[in-house]
Symmetry: C2
Subunit: 197 residues, 2 copies
C-alpha cells in the first residue's frame, strides 16, 4: 500500500528530481506547499512555467536572456570577452561588479573522455565574434580543472595567431573546485591577476 495519497506522492516525486533532494526533503517541501495559500501555489507554478517560456539564450553570447540579445551584450564594452563554461558562471562573475566587458558562454568544455569535442560547444561562435574585429582581449574563465584547462589552451591556440591577447584567471582558485562555489575574495583576486597565456 502506498503511504502517501496520489497528489502528495506525485509532488514528492517532482521535488525529488531537484539536485540533492531526497525523499525526506521532498516530503518536507510537499507539506509546506500543502500549507500555502492557493495564490502562493499558483504563483509558484507560474514561476516554473514562466522560466521555461521566457528564458532563452542570447544569440550573441549564449547567456540566459528574455530578449534576442542579453542586457550585458547590449550595453557593455565588446572589446573584452570573458569565456565561461555555463550561464551560472556569468552570475558568479557578475556578483563581483569587477568586469566591464561581455561574456561568451561555451555551454560545456572539451571533454574527450565523455565524447565532447570542440564542435559540441560554442567555439565556432566565439571565433566568429572575434573575427568581426574590435576584440582586444579574451579572458578564459573556464573552471581550473583538467577539462577547463584543456579548453582554455585549445581556444588560446586558435586566437593567438589572430593577434588577440588571451588571458586566464590566475591560479588563486583552488584546483579541482568549481567557479560557482569559489568564495568572492578568491574569485575577485583571480580576476584581477589574470595572466596572458
Amino acid at each position: 500500500m502506498e503511504i502517501f495519497i496520489e497528489p502528495i506522492g506525485k509532488l514528492i516525486n517532482e521535488f525529488s528530481k531537484l539536485p540533492g533532494v531526497g525523499k525526506k526533503t521532498a516530503q518536507r517541501y510537499a507539506y509546506r506547499v500543502i500549507s500555502m495559500t492557493d495564490e502562493e501555489v499558483n504563483a509558484f507554478a507560474a514561476a516554473l512555467v514562466g522560466v521555461k517560456k521566457r528564458v532563452r539564450f542570447c544569440k550573441v553570447c549564449g547567456n540566459f536572456t528574455e530578449s534576442e540579445v542579453c542586457g550585458i551584450c547590449k550595453t557593455r564594452d565588446p572589446a573584452v570577452i570573458c569565456v565561461v563554461k555555463e550561464p551560472k558562471d556569468v552570475i558568479a562573475l557578475e556578483k563581483l561588479h569587477e568586469f566591464k566587458g561581455v561574456y561568451h558562454v561555451l555551454h560545456g568544455v572539451i571533454d574527450p573522455m565523455n565524447g565532447i569535442s570542440p564542435n559540441d560547444i560554442k567555439v565556432k561562435e566565439l571565433l566568429a565574434r572575434v573575427g568581426e574585429g574590435n576584440v582586444k582581449e579574451v579572458i578564459m574563465a573556464t573552471n581550473p580543472d583538467v577539462e577547463g584547462e584543456a579548453t582554455a589552451m585549445y581556444i588560446a591556440k586558435l586566437l593567438k595567431p589572430l593577434g588577440i591577447t588571451v588571458t586566464r584567471l590566475s591560479r588563486g582558485i583552488p584546483i579541482g573546485s568549481e567557479l560557482e562555489y569559489t568564495d568572492e575574495v578568491t574569485l575577485s583576486r583571480a580576476f584581477i591577476e589574470r595572466k596572458e597565456i
Copy 2:
C-alpha cells in the same frame, strides 16, 4: 542592478520559500528547472497545483485525503484511535506497518505561550468520536516535548472518566544509542519509567 533576469529571479524567490532553502540552493534548483524539458516543467507545475486542488482533510480524522473520508478511516479498526499532532506524524507511524487502528490529527498542540488553547486544535472532534461509543483505546502519540506532554495529559483527563483506556508511546533511551550520550532528561525519564523484566 539585478544579476538574474526576471523569470529566473522569480523562480529563485519561490524556491527560497521552501523550508531550509537559501538563495544558493534555490539558484541550483532554478537552473535545474531551466534544463528540464517543457513536459517535465509542466508536470512539476501541475503537481503543485494538483496538491492544492485535490488534497483536503478527512472529515473523520483530519488526515490528508482526496475523498470525504480517508482510506484509513474507511477500512481499519475504529476501536483504537491514535492521536497525533500533524498529518506527517501519520506517515511516520504508517511506515512501521504496526498499527491496525485509526488516527486523529489534532492539527497542533496546546501551547499557551503561543496562545494555542484546546479550542484551537481538534479536541472537540476527538471527544465527539469517542462519544459515539465503540472506542476502547486512545493512544496519545503527540511529541515527547513540553507541549506534546501537556496536550496528552489534558486529553487523557477528559477521556478517562468515559471509561476509555488512554495510553502514551513509551519514552526512553532510543534503541541503538548509548547511555553515555543520552541527554539527561531522556535518561531520567527512562529511569523513572523503568519496567520489570
